[in-house]
Amino acid sequence: MSHISPVIWQFLVKWMTNFALFPPEASKIAPQMDALYFFMVLVSLIGLTIVVLLVISFSILYNRKRHPVAVQIEGSTLLEATWTIIPLGLFLVMFVWGALIYFRVFTPPANAMNIYVVGKQWMWKVEHPGGQHEINALHVPEGRAVQLTMISQDVFHSLSIPAFRVKREAIPGRYTTVWFEATTPGTYHLFCTQYCGTNHSQMTGDVVVMTQEDYRKWLASSTSGESLAQNGERLFASLSCAACHNTRPDARGPSLANVYGAKLTLSSGGAVIADEAYLREAILNPSQHITQGYAPIMPTYQGQISEEGVIALIEYIKHLDSDYRVEQTLTTTDMLPEGEGATPAGKASAGNAPAAKGMVKP
């Protein structure tokens, strides 16, 4: 070994650093998924061993030298039934087990904190409710359920965090969600795993898991000064949404106070829960989502608001928990000429704006 070339040695050292055969388990779901994974590895190994051992031992026992005349056997219903039913049973176990995990990964708990992710060629844009923006990075606290609400503004992307064992496509035109609860502080890979064009392989980033305290510090230090909801409020004002969506008795649109999470009856007769997906649709394709009792007069905002804008609006609507807030926006809109309203509007509502810790909807 002493004669090993320094160049090769250098490579070996480089390769062996961080070399792993199995990814770290850094989320609550990871050990659960790995249990199933190793169960399946075990079953596969047993199956493979059986096949290989049988092939080898038959090859030895029944090769032509030792066993010159083959014994013709038609088959054996019992044996065949065995190797039909046992694999089927095992596969069904895997199916049920897998389905349980699948539903767990894609059913966020009610108290999860929400972070928005917008995928575009070729970067991940992360929007925290507190107004923190990140590109190709995602900071999350440990020990808190985090829900990612994702959308793509161009092609299919797929957000993958191998250490958390979660992955979900960000698709154009529709929100998808995934959630996780990080358990170990550290920095992990973030990949786009759905081929999305030229720089697909550069659409990577880091997921930084921090202790709750560090996370709070990080939030405070990287805020842009304006929360997502405040941003949305400004948009709400500049798009004159409040001209219809207000609390006046003659309002042409329904009041949006407390609308998030409420069950709405639509003019088409159907009922719907006003979640993020519904709110997005109602902004971009309003006439198909008219609340009962209102005329279909809302114009579409498709092409006028970016995906981030829609997210800000939704975040704003989510925080409208009283008519007072709507009024507040209304007043600011009335008070200020359009365009100039940015900073003062922000200030005006700063007092009402939810603090970072109030992000979770009770």
């Binding site: 394709n285 309003p286 006439s287 198909q288 279909p296 809302m298 114009p299 579409t300 498709q302």
Partner: protein, 253 residues
């Protein structure tokens, strides 16, 4: 090396093969078939299978149609209203009639009536041509009204129905719904376009059949090719039978 048992038991067939070699079978029997029945069964089965692939081909588009029609029903209604039921109905009648004349062409071929067969085929061809002409006129109208999906697609007829006689009196669509009419027309052009392409291919084949039929090619007992072409033509008819109500007649009351 042919083993003896096979030789012994194949004697019957060997005789059949010798028979074949001596021209004991009709000339249209291809060398690798043993009998006319086998050839007829095999080729008709093949034709059916081919038509089933066509079913799956158009079937794919019908799946797309089904989904979007349910998603964007108002847009599909408005889009459908832009289509001319009269022209569509006439086209249905034309195609059904051509299908009828096609069956008669096959019947004439089987009865070995060359004149009748050619007449029926010419009629079929003419009806097909008129169908395509009507279709062309409809396409032209869509083109002029900028209802062809793409950059120049115009929403005027849906946003201001009164500006367009075809839509006059209907409720104007909000912008977001009006935009989805483009999907309707995308499907309209994709489906009718693929249908028209099949008709054009069919008419090319028909021209070939007519060319050969003058020499009596199909009226001497071997009608298979005309029959299979007839099946293809009927299939094209069936596609239209579905396209007509699905595209032209959405919510017409």
């Amino acid at each position: 090396m042919q083993d003896s048992a096979v030789v012994a038991q194949g004697a019957r067939n060997a005789a059949a093969m010798a028979d074949h070699a001596h021209g004991g079978h009709p000339t249209y029997l291809l060398h690798h078939f043993n009998s006319v029945e086998q050839q007829a069964d095999a080729s008709s089965f093949a034709m059916w299978l081919f038509l089933l692939t066509e079913v799956m081909f158009f079937g794919g588009m019908f799946v797309v149609y089904l989904i979007y029609r349910n998603w964007y029903y108002p847009a599909f209604v408005a889009g459908s209203r832009q289509l001319n039921v009269a022209l569509g109905g006439i086209n249905s009648a034309l195609l059904i009639t051509s299908s009828f004349t096609m069956t008669l062409a096959v019947w004439n071929a089987r009865m070995r009536r060359k004149g009748g067969m050619i007449l029926c085929l010419v009629l079929t061809f003419a009806l097909g041509a008129v169908f395509l002409g009507v279709k062309g006129a409809e396409y032209k109208e869509k083109f002029e009204k900028h209802h062809v999906p793409g950059e120049h697609y115009s929403l005027q007829s849906f946003l201001n129905p009164d500006s367009d006689p075809a839509a006059a009196g209907t409720r104007p669509l909000p912008l977001d719904e009006a935009r989805h009419t483009e999907l309707f027309f995308s499907l309209y052009f994709a489906m009718t376009g693929m249908h028209a392409l099949h008709m054009i291919i069919g008419m090319g084949l028909m021209a070939y059949i007519l060319f050969r039929a003058r020499g009596g090619a199909y009226t001497a007992g071997h009608t298979a090719f005309v029959e299979y072409f007839g099946m293809y033509w009927h299939f094209v008819d069936i596609v239209w039978i579905f396209l007509f109500p699905l595209l032209y007649l959405i919510n017409r009351h």
